[in-house]
């Protein structure tokens, strides 16, 4: 995915319409703090073999990622949540690694958007 496709500009545009650049900045600051905590919780759930914990961890990632237009993060979190709800543990570890990588890829783009004055 190219840099320009990592973030959905329409999502950021919606935020700007509601609260200007300040809302974009403030939302990204929160997401950059919140999502890593939830990724950590998902990893802990994975290590404990606790599908409910994984589901509870990835569920809010969906929403946060969607709010700031991190589409790949949102899609992976959605897939993992569905698998966890359906008690299909097999594919989850690989998808969690993909989710972590997708967030790592989105992070510099989010930081750039955060730092635009």
């Amino acid at each position: 995915m190219s840099d320009s496709n990592i973030l959905d500009v329409a999502a950021l545009g919606r935020l700007e319409k509601i609260g200007g650049r300040k809302l974009i900045r403030d939302m990204i600051v929160i997401v950059l703090d919140y999502v890593p905590k939830k990724l950590e919780a998902a990893r802990a759930g994975e290590q404990a073999g606790d599908l409910d914990a994984i589901q509870n961890a990835v569920h809010p990632i969906r929403s946060s990622a969607a709010n700031v237009g991190a589409r790949a993060v949102e899609e992976l979190a959605t897939r993992i949540e569905r698998l966890a709800l359906e008690k299909q543990a097999g594919p989850i570890p690989a998808l969690l690694r993909e989710l972590e990588a997708a967030f790592a890829q989105a992070r510099p783009q989010l930081e750039r958007e955060r730092d635009i004055s």
């Binding site: 999502a11 919606r14 935020l15 509601i18 609260g19 809302l23 403030d26 939302m27 929160i30 997401v31 919140y34 509870n56 569920h59 809010p60 969906r62 929403s63 946060s64 969607a66 709010n67 700031v68």
Partner: protein, 124 residues
């Protein structure tokens, strides 16, 4: 100014909803179902925006308690959900919600109109 209690554990969603609502309503925020439930009688809100997936007491249980409480049962309650699965609407309305909003919020007018509808419907 009418008062809305917002119950949402996701901090960026709280910021988004607060930004949308703060010029129109007084907004009191809670991060958990338990803390919201314990404060509702004191808050005396005109409407509740209630996330379904909460870490302790989920939104369905909070709604059930509101509807079972003599002093709160007429309170308009709108579900906030990222589930958006088939049958959700019926499930939430059956659980006592007046309406439901799907997250992420793609069009803020959907939220504002739902609030207007619910406040009007209950005659608050």
């Amino acid at each position: 100014m009418k008062k809305i209690v917002l119950v949402e554990d996701n901090p960026d969603n709280r910021l988004l909803f607060r930004t949308l609502l703060q010029d129109l309503y007084e907004v009191a925020e809670y991060e958990s179902g338990v803390s919201a439930w314990e404060s509702l009688r004191q808050e005396k809100p005109d409407l509740v925006l209630l996330d379904i997936s909460l870490p302790d007491m989920d939104g369905l249980e909070v709604a059930r308690r509101i509807r079972a409480d003599a002093s709160l049962k007429g309170l308009p309650v709108i579900a906030l959900t990222a589930h958006a699965m088939s049958g959700d609407r019926e499930r939430f309305l059956d659980a006592g919600f007046d309406d439901y909003i799907t997250k992420p919020l793609l069009d803020e007018t959907v939220l504002l109109e739902a609030i207007d509808r619910c406040l009007g419907r209950r005659g608050v």
